[in-house]
Symmetry: C2
Subunit: 340 residues, 2 copies
Amino acid sequence: MAHDERRLEVLRAIVQDYVSTNDPVGSKALADRHDLGVSPATIRNDMAVLEEQGYITQPHTSAGRVPTDKGYRLFVDRLSAVKPLSVAERRAIERFLDGAVDLHDVLGRTVRLLAQLTRQVAVVQYPTLSRSAVRHLEVVQVAAARLMLVLITDTGRVEQRVVDCPADIDAGAVAELRTLLNSAFSGVKLTDAGDKVPELLETAPQHLRGLVATVSATLLETLVEPSEDRLVIGGTANLARGSALDFHGTVSPLLEALEEQVVVLRLISEVDAGTVLVRIGEENDHEALTGASLVTVGYGSRDRALGGLGIVGPTRMDYPTNMAAVRAVARYVGQILAES
Amino acid sequence: MAHDERRLEVLRAIVQDYVSTNDPVGSKALADRHDLGVSPATIRNDMAVLEEQGYITQPHTSAGRVPTDKGYRLFVDRLSAVKPLSVAERRAIERFLDGAVDLHDVLGRTVRLLAQLTRQVAVVQYPTLSRSAVRHLEVVQVAAARLMLVLITDTGRVEQRVVDCPADIDAGAVAELRTLLNSAFSGVKLTDAGDKVPELLETAPQHLRGLVATVSATLLETLVEPSEDRLVIGGTANLARGSALDFHGTVSPLLEALEEQVVVLRLISEVDAGTVLVRIGEENDHEALTGASLVTVGYGSRDRALGGLGIVGPTRMDYPTNMAAVRAVARYVGQILAES
DNA sequence: GCTGGCACTCCGACCGTGCGAGTGCCAGCA
DNA sequence: TGCTGGCACTCGCACGGTCGGAGTGCCAGC
């Protein structure tokens, strides 16, 4: 059993060395840099076993070993403790996020902060509409037969839609509509908004029925759609900088996937607040993300994740540090959003 | 004089060949691929002159010639006609932009479209606040002593700010404030909003004065700031794809500059609607943009540019095609925004 | 079960060579 | 005067062979 334990220790050492040096690590280097208490020859035997079990691999004969995705997985699950942030880092987080003027600003700062802390690509999701509630609905007339609908959620998100109406509308109707919509939807979760519509239609005065129907339709169709979730991305320069080699040559498929948003959005929204989720290489079913790892977590109050945030980087990344950074940033963002 | 003319023809041929092949172009290749009517030897003489004048250069002895920034400049100014778009491209533009549901969506589609058409990084500026007017101001109470201010401009832009107030506010005051603000600011250009404040303060009922002052202050300070202009960026994958070599190895300074936004924002806002502006390599004073070219134009109605859009790419780009694409897209965007 | 030793593999850096593209110059020709 | 073909020259780069070193697996010994 001390057997197995040492073997895991060897794996941990391999991961740590490989992450910091970017060179395949050999038995001699391991024995030199770590106090494993055994000779290189013994380490070689352990490495042979680890390779057979699929935790490490060698790029070519007579090069050192490199962790596989499975190896990273084991490392993350059992061999690493989340590393506490330095005081300087904590202060940087506070300084960076304080003074944000609105949601857009908060998320923009968050993504820059996260990119800077982890030196990876950072990704922040806008608070999911599906978990938000209506704070206010504003109706603005932009043309004779055209209204602009502005939805303000309790998470500070503002969404707008233009609605074309079948007939011209007079200013009085707009005001009535506004009152009607607000009394019907204020405080209602967006997922429940659909249920309120029939009731709203009944109580609406005759001459507004058509209008209410049109507007409600737009509201439901466009705002409740999960596809309307947005993503802020930052730190793409980090991809181009060092890690070009980590992604066999070109980072452009990854950049494309990031801009596409939909893939990352799906992955990032499967998060709980508080639990850092790590997806390593092949575990991401999407092709462009093979070879990349995601570290994500939900932000928001304890019982309810407003959205997700995280980083995307090469599988060869410093998981403990990055997990700590992601978790800490999410916590701060949650606090700030709770205040506003 | 036919002398000079042919020399320019040679320059044009060099630019065209170099852009399409990415290889330094020699006299023989030129004579083969273009009907210049003279022999390679003569072309060599012309090239020697062009080099002396600084329009072309050779990376090393006995390689072909490559255009300099000055050479590209001459090409753009005098040797190229803006290339009309193909029917397929025009259709693609329409198809892409139709069906956008709001401003955010329009600009998002625009940036994707532009990136796809030009295979470069695309950049789109939100309609400048400084050239917009207030369509509506909404005031929402988010806490006892905290208001959210939502500004809707005539260009469809929506901006929000949270305002902390010195004392608690009751719902009636919020409604009054809303009416007051709208009657004061509706239709007013944001640049003129400052002038309206004293008047507003005078006419405001006594008990609202403090509140109005606080809110107006926030409004002015945060919304009229030109720094509040936003940028949408897309197609960064195009940078990583082919043109890594065009930017002596690394594209990451350029990516950083793009994410920083402020530099590009400054450049992109110096545009007129309708006039395509090209900045080539060294002409961009900012260091990270040396080696890059910008093709920008303003969008909006004829007399008033709402904002700018354009592309960023290597100096070695197809200027005629890209200028055409940028101009065409700007025209469509202008139309669409005018409709809504 | 660990260790030192040993033979083996193989990548990658280094180097010298040769090829080919491209040039500049020059003499000849219209 | 200006264009052309020819020619010698330059120089980067691709090619191929060599060599060293890092790393491995295996084995015998403790």
